[in-house]
C-alpha cells in the first residue's frame, strides 16, 4: 500500500531544500533543476495516491500513517502521524501541481538573479512545510507546518533584501503572522487541557462533549490563527506589502496556497464550529467584511500586484464566508479555493510576465495597449479574468455562484454583501484589464515590451486551461461534493429564489460592474494618479488599516518601550552601576587589610581566634 509512503511527499522537497540551502555554491549550476524536480516528483506521487484513493469505497479513503512517537510528556502523547484523505489529497495536488508550474516559471523569471539557487531552496522549503501542514493528523503537527510556511513566506517576501521596502514588508508579515500564531498555539494548549490530546480524531470526537463556551473559545482561537495566515480583517495588513517578494512567490504563496491555509484550518475543524453558532457567525462576518474590504482596496490600486493582492484578500473572504456557513458551505469553500488557486496563480504569473517585459515596472498607469505585444500573456490573463468574474463556463462561475447561493440561503444581508462583492470584483478586474492591455501606450521611452520565454508562457497556458476547465470538478455530476462529503459533510442549501434566477441576478450585477469600469476607463488614463475622491484615498490607503494598527498598537507599544527604556536607564542601570561601585569600593577598602606583613596577618589570626572562642562561649552561655 503506497499510502504508507505518504511521508515521501513531504520528504522529497524537504531533502531538496536541505541540499540547496546547505550545499552552498557547489549546487549553483543545477540547483534550480533539482528544486523544480522535487515538487514534480511529489506531484506525480500525489497523482498516484489520488487515483488509488479513487479506487476505494468512499468510507475507506481516509488513511492515517503513524511514523513515530514524536514526544510524550506525562499524559500528553503526540505521534508524528500523517492523515491522507480526500480533503488533504486535493490540497496535495493543488500545492504540488500549481507549485510545479510556478517552479518551472521561476526558472525563467529568476534567470538573472545571482541567488536563484537559494530562491529555489526557499520555495522547496515552502512546499515541504505546506504539505506537512495539510497532511498532519494532529494540530501540533499542523502548527509545525504552519510555522514552516510562515518562515518560508518571511524569507521569500524579503528575498530582495537589498530593498528596504522588501525587508520592512517581510518583518511586517512576520509580526502580524505571530499574532495569528498565538491563536493556534492557544488552541493547541486548550485542546490538551480539554481533550488530553491534539490529534484530529480525539478533538473531533470530543468536540460535541465540551461546554459551549469552550467550543466558542476554541473556534475563535482558530479563527484568529486563520485571520493571520489568510490575511483576513483585522490581520489583513501584511498581504499587500508582501507583494514586495518576487512575483512567483506572490503567485504561489500569497495567492494560491499559503494564504488559503486559514480556510483549510476552519474546514478541518468543522467538528468544533458545528457545535458553536457564535464562532461560526464570527467566521462569516470576518469573511464578508474581508471580501468587501479587499475588493474596495483592489479598486484603487495602481500597482498591478497590489490590485491582485486586494483581490486575493477578497476571494479568500468568500472562502471564509462559505466555511462559516457550515455543512452547506464547506465543499464550496474548498472548491472555490481550488479554482481560485488556478486562476489567481494564472493572473499573478501573467502580471509577472507583464513586469518582465516592462522592466519590472508595476504601475498600471505606465502600461496600456500591451495586448498586441504580449499575445500569450494577454490571452491567458483574459482566461483568469473571465474566471474570477464568474462568467460561464469558466471555473469561477461554478464556485463563486454556489457561495453566493449558500450565503443567500443563510442570511439575506450576507447574501447581498456577497453579491455586491461580485459586482465590485467585476469593476476592479475590468479596470486592471483595461489599464494593462487596452487603451493607448503609456510606456516609458526606454521600455520595449516583449513576450516572455516559453518556460514562462507554458505554465501560463496550463493554468489558463485550468481556469477554464476547473469548473468540471462540479458540473461533472457534482463530483467534488461526493468526494468531500465523507470528510466534511454536506447539506443542500435552499436559496429564497431558484438557482437559475440567482445565477442571472449575479451575472447582471457582474455586468453592471463591467459596464461602469468600461465607461470610466475607456478614456485616456493619466500617467500620474489624480488626487481622487476621499473614497479613493480611503481605498488607496488600504482603508487606513495601517494607520489603525499604528494608532492602536504601534504607538502605545512605542510609548511603553520608551518608558521601560527610561526606567531601565534611570532605575535598573542606576541600581546596577551603584552596586558595582559599592562592591568596587568595598573591595578596594578590604584589600588594604592585605598589607603583606606577617605580623599583621598573625594579628588578624589572633583576633579571629579570640572571636571564635568568644562566639562559642557566647552561644553556650546565652
Amino acid at each position: 500500500m503506497s499510502h504508507e509512503l505518504t511521508w515521501l511527499l513531504v520528504a522529497v522537497p524537504a531533502l531538496s531544500a536541505a541540499i540547496l540551502l546547505l550545499g552552498g555554491k557547489a549546487t549553483n549550476a543545477w540547483g534550480h533543476l533539482l528544486g523544480t524536480l522535487a515538487p514534480v516528483i511529489s506531484f506525480a506521487f500525489g497523482v498516484v495516491l489520488f487515483f488509488q484513493m479513487r479506487g476505494r469505497a468512499s468510507e475507506e479513503r481516509s488513511e492515517t500513517v503513524r511514523l513515530f512517537e514524536w514526544f510524550s510528556v506525562g499524559q500528553i502523547k503526540v505521534d508524528f502521524t500523517l492523515l491522507i484523505d480526500p480533503l488533504s489529497i486535493l490540497f496535495v495536488l493543488l500545492i504540488t501541481g500549481v507549485g510545479s508550474l510556478i517552479h518551472i516559471y521561476s526558472i525563467g523569471y529568476m534567470e538573472h538573479d545571482p541567488r536563484r539557487r537559494r530562491f529555489f531552496g526557499y520555495l522547496n522549503l515552502f512546499i515541504a512545510s505546506m504539505l506537512l501542514l495539510v497532511l498532519a493528523a494532529d494540530y501540533l503537527l499542523v502548527f509545525v507546518g504552519w510555522e514552516g510556511v510562515g518562515l518560508a513566506s518571511y524569507l521569500l517576501i524579503g528575498f530582495w533584501q537589498h530593498k528596504n521596502s522588501a525587508a520592512v514588508a517581510a518583518k511586517k508579515a512576520f509580526v502580524v503572522n505571530r499574532v495569528g500564531d498565538i491563536g493556534l498555539s492557544l488552541a493547541v494548549m486548550s485542546m490538551w487541557a480539554l481533550f488530553g490530546s491534539s490529534a484530529f480524531t480525539t478533538v473531533n470526537a470530543g468536540a460535541e462533549h465540551v461546554s459551549k463556551t469552550w467550543a466558542t473559545l476554541l473556534g475563535l482561537m482558530l479563527l484568529l490563527a486563520a485571520c493571520g495566515k489568510s490575511a483576513q480583517v483585522p490581520l489583513q495588513s501584511w498581504l499587500l506589502d508582501a507583494m514586495e517578494g518576487p512575483t512567483p512567490v506572490s503567485a504561489l504563496i500569497h495567492a494560491a496556497t499559503m494564504v488559503t491555509a486559514g480556510v483549510y484550518l476552519v474546514v478541518r475543524s468543522h467538528a468544533i464550529y458545528e457545535v458553536t453558532d457564535a464562532a461560526s457567525t464570527a467566521v462569516v462576518i470576518v469573511g464578508t467584511v474581508t471580501a468587501l474590504a479587499g475588493a474596495i482596496i483592489g479598486c484603487a490600486k495602481d500597482d498591478i500586484k497590489k490590485a491582485l493582492a486586494g483581490s486575493t484578500m477578497s476571494q479568500i473572504g468568500y472562502m471564509m464566508l462559505a466555511a462559516g456557513l457550515g455543512p452547506a458551505g464547506y465543499v464550496f469553500a474548498i472548491f472555490h479555493l481550488l479554482t481560485h488557486g488556478f486562476f489567481k496563480a494564472n493572473m499573478f504569473l501573467g502580471a509577472g510576465s507583464v513586469m518582465h517585459g516592462m522592466n519590472d515596472d508595476v504601475n498600471m498607469r505606465h502600461y496600456g495597449a500591451l495586448r498586441t505585444s504580449m499575445k500569450v500573456t494577454f490571452a491567458t490573463f483574459a482566461f483568469g479574468y473571465l474566471a474570477i468574474l464568474g462568467i460561464p463556463p469558466f471555473a469561477g462561475f461554478f464556485s463563486k455562484d454556489k457561495i453566493i447561493e449558500a450565503a443567500f440561503a443563510d442570511n439575506t444581508v450576507i447574501g447581498l454583501c456577497a453579491l455586491l462583492g461580485a459586482g465590485i470584483t467585476a469593476f476592479y478586474m475590468t479596470r486592471v484589464m483595461l489599464m494593462t492591455f487596452f487603451g493607448k501606450k503609456r510606456w516609458a521611452e526606454d521600455v520595449h515590451p516583449h513576450e516572455s520565454p516559453a518556460v514562462m508562457t507554458w505554465p501560463l497556458i496550463i493554468l489558463a486551461a485550468l481556469s477554464l476547465g476547473g469548473g468540471a470538478l462540479y458540473f461533472a455530476g457534482h463530483w467534488i461534493v461526493d468526494w468531500l462529503e465523507p470528510i466534511v459533510g454536506h447539506e443542500e442549501e435552499h436559496p429564497p429564489v431558484s438557482a437559475l434566477v440567482m445565477t442571472l441576478i449575479t451575472l447582471a450585477v457582474v455586468a453592471v460592474g463591467i459596464v461602469i469600469a468600461v465607461l470610466k476607463y475607456r478614456r485616456d488614463i493619466p500617467r500620474e494618479a489624480p488626487a481622487g475622491s476621499p473614497v479613493t484615498v480611503f481605498a488607496r490607503r488600504d482603508l487606513y488599516g495601517d494607520a489603525l494598527n499604528e494608532a492602536v498598537l504601534m504607538r502605545p507599544g512605542q510609548y511603553l518601550t520608551r518608558t521601560l527604556v527610561w526606567l531601565d536607564n534611570r532605575g535598573v542601570d542606576g541600581l546596577v552601576n551603584g552596586l558595582a561601585a559599592l562592591f568596587g569600593g568595598l573591595s578596594g577598602r578590604l584589600r588594604r587589610f592585605q598589607t603583606g606583613f606577617v605580623r599583621s596577618y598573625a594579628l588578624s589570626m589572633v583576633f579571629g581566634a579570640a572571636f571564635v572562642v568568644v562566639a562559642l562561649l557566647a552561644v553556650r552561655l546565652s
Partner: protein, 529 residues
C-alpha cells in the same frame, strides 16, 4: 603501681592492617626510595627515575585505593588511629588523581628554555654567580618529587586520621614539604622565598592553636581518639568551657589550612609567590585534605555539640564567601585573583559543611553534606590545577606574565589557550554545563535541605559577585586589543599538555555527566568512628 610491674611478655604488638593501609604505605615508601635515589644515583639519571617512581607510586596507590573502594571494606585501622572509610578512600582517590596532574606540571622542562620551574640550587643567592653557574650546568633539585610524595602521603593520612595526635602529625608531614616547595621558584625567587617564609611562620602559628586545642580537648575527654571524644560528649562529663575553647582553637588551626576568613591572609601572598605548579597543587590538594579533615573532626568527634559550633561556623562561612568574592574584584594579578577565588570557594564549601551539621543522623532525604562537599572538591580541584597550568604558559622575558593587564587580547593571540582558561573560569563561576555548576548545585542543595537557607542566599549573591570578576577576565582576553608587547604563549611539553587536557576533560565530563561521580560520592557514605 602494678602497671609498672607488667612483664615484658604481656606487651602485644599493635595490629596493623597492611592491606587497608597499603595506599598510604606505597606513597610513603616511594618517598623514602626517592630520598635514597637522591643519595645514590648519578645526577643525570635522577629526573627521569624520580619522575617514574613518583608516577608509579601515585598510580599504584590509586589502583589499590580503587580496589579497597570496590571491596567496600570500612574499618578503623592501626588500633583506631586511622579510619579507612568511604569518604577517606574517595578523598585518597581525588588526591592521587590531582597529584598525578601536579607531578606532571612539576616535571615540565620545555617551557622555560629547558629548565623546570624550580630553582637549580635553592641555597644559591638569587642573581649570584653561583646561581648562574648552576643554571649553565643545568643543575636541578629533583628532591621536589620525594617532597611531593611526602606531602601527598601526609594529606592522605590527614584526611583519614581518626585520632587528634595522628591528625597533627599528618598536618606537619604535609605542611613541611609544602613550605620548602613554595620557596623553590626559579624566577622571582625573592618573592618566592618571602612566600615560603610567611607560609612557614603563619603555619607554625596556626599549628600552635591547633595543638593547644587538641590539648584542651584531651583535657575534656581524656582521650585523643575522635570516637572517644564523641563518647565523652554524649555522656556530658567534664567542663564545657574547656570543650568550647578546645573546639574553637582546633577549628582555628583547621580553618587556617582551609583558607577561611579571617585565617586566610596567607593565601594570596603564598599563592602568588610559590612556583605556579606548586600553587596549583596546594590550591587543589591542600584544600581537599584540610576540608575532609575538618569535616571528620567536627562531624565525628564534635557532632554532639554541633549546636554550639554551628553559629560560629555560619559567620565564618559568610565572611569567607563575602570577603573572597569582593576582594577578588580589584585584584590585578591573575594568581592572586585565583587565590581569592579559592577563598570564596572555601566559603561555598563551608556552606554545605555547616548547613547540614546533622550528618549521619539520616533525617534528610536529599544529598548529604559529606557527599556534596566531596563532589564539590572534585569539581573544584580539576579546573584549579588546569587554570594554574594555563598560567604557566603565558610568559614574557621575566617569566610568567601574571599581571592581568598583560592578558589583554590573549584570545586573539591564542584562541585555544584563552578559550580553555575561559572555560575553567566559567566553571569556577558555576555556569551550567561545567563541573562548577553541578558542584555549586550540590553544596547549595545540601545546605538548603539542612535548613541553612540564609547561607544559601548569601552564597548565591556571592556567586553573582564572583561571576563578575571571572567574566571580567574573559572580556579582557577576548574583547581587548592585543598590545604590541603582548606576552608570548609558550609551547607546552607533553607534561603540561596532558595536565591541561586532563583538567579540561574532567571539567567537561563532570559538567555534562556528573552522575557517575555523584554516585561514587554517595556510595562513599558517611564517616565511621
Amino acid at each position: 603501681m602494678s602497671a609498672m610491674l607488667l612483664p615484658v611478655a604481656d606487651f602485644t604488638a599493635p595490629k596493623i592492617e597492611y592491606n587497608e593501609l597499603a595506599p598510604l604505605l606505597v606513597v610513603f615508601g616511594a618517598a623514602c626510595v626517592g630520598v635514597l635515589v637522591e643519595a645514590f644515583l648519578p645526577r643525570p639519571l635522577r629526573h627521569l627515575v624520580q619522575l617514574a617512581i613518583t608516577v608509579v607510586a601515585v598510580v599504584v596507590s590509586g589502583v589499590l585505593t580503587g580496589i579497597l573502594m570496590n571491596d567496600k571494606k570500612e574499618l578503623l585501622a592501626a588500633q583506631g588511629a586511622i579510619s579507612v572509610d568511604g569518604p577517606a578512600l574517595f578523598t585518597w582517590l581525588i588526591l592521587l588523581a590531582l597529584s598525578l596532574i601536579s607531578v606532571l606540571l612539576f616535571a615540565e622542562r620545555s617551557i622555560d628554555g629547558g629548565l623546570s620551574a624550580f630553582a637549580g640550587q635553592a641555597a644559591a643567592v638569587p642573581g649570584s654567580d653561583a646561581e648562574r653557574e648552576g643554571t649553565a650546568a643545568r643543575v636541578e633539585h629533583t628532591e621536589i618529587f620525594p617532597l611531593t610524595l611526602f606531602a601527598v602521603g601526609g594529606m592522605m593520612l590527614f584526611a583519614a586520621s581518626n585520632d587528634l595526635l595522628v591528625l597533627f602529625v599528618a598536618l606537619e608531614v604535609f605542611s613541611l614539604p609544602l613550605y620548602l616547595l613554595c620557596g623553590l621558584a626559579r624566577r622571582r625567587r625573592l618573592i618566592s622565598q618571602e612566600a615560603a617564609m610567611k607560609y612557614f611562620l603563619l603555619g607554625a602559628f596556626s599549628s600552635a592553636f591547633l595543638l593547644f586545642g587538641i590539648a584542651l580537648l584531651y583535657g575534656y575527654a581524656g582521650t585523643m581518639s575522635l570516637g572517644g571524644i564523641a563518647d565523652a560528649l554524649s555522656s556530658d562529663t567534664g567542663s564545657d568551657t574547656i570543650l568550647l575553647a578546645g573546639t574553637g582553637l582546633l577549628g582555628v588551626g583547621l580553618l587556617f589550612k582551609v583558607g577561611g576568613v579571617p585565617f586566610h591572609s596567607w593565601t594570596p601572598d603564598v599563592y602568588q609567590g610559590a612556583p605556579t605548579p606548586v600553587t596549583g597543587f596546594m590550591a587543589a590538594c591542600t584544600k581537599i585534605a584540610a576540608f575532609v579533615g575538618l569535616m571528620r573532626v567536627f562531624y565525628v568527634a564534635l557532632g554532639g555539640s554541633r549546636w554550639d559550633w554551628a553559629p560560629m561556623m555560619w559567620i565564618i562561612a559568610i565572611l569567607t564567601m563575602v570577603v573572597g568574592s569582593i576582594v577578588a574584584i580589584t585584584q590585578t594579578d591573575v594568581k592572586r585573583m585565583l587565590a581569592y577565588s579559592s577563598i570564596a570557594h572555601a566559603g561555598f564549601l563551608l556552606t554545605a559543611f555547616v548547613g547540614l551539621a546533622q550528618a549521619g543522623s539520616g533525617v534528610h532525604t536529599g544529598i548529604t553534606s559529606t557527599q556534596a562537599v566531596l563532589f564539590y572538591l572534585v569539581s573544584y580541584g580539576f579546573p584549579t590545577i588546569g587554570a594554574f597550568a594555563v598560567v604557566t604558559l603565558v610568559r614574557d622575558a621575566g617569566g610568567e606574565a601574571t599581571h592581568l593587564s598583560r592578558w589583554a587580547g590573549l584570545g586573539k593571540k591564542s584562541p585555544l589557550l584563552a578559550g580553555i582558561f575561559a572555560f575553567f573560569l566559567l566553571s569556577f563561576a558555576g555556569i551550567p554545563l561545567t563541573a562548577g555548576f553541578t558542584g555549586k548545585w550540590a553544596v547549595f542543595s545540601a545546605a538548603w535541605t539542612g535548613g541553612a537557607w540564609p547561607l544559601v542566599v548569601v552564597a548565591v549573591l556571592s556567586s553573582l559577585v564572583a561571576a563578575f570578576f571571572y567574566v571580567r577576565v574573559i572580556v579582557l582576553m577576548f574583547f581587548s586589543d592585543l598590545p604590541a608587547d603582548a606576552p608570548d604563549v609558550a609551547l607546552p611539553g607533553w607534561q603540561t599538555t596532558s595536565a591541561v587536557a586532563l583538567g579540561l576533560a574532567a571539567t567537561v565530563v563532570l559538567g555534562l555527566v556528573p552522575g557517575p561521580v555523584l554516585d561514587l560520592a554517595a556510595r562513599a557514605g558517611e564517616f565511621i568512628r
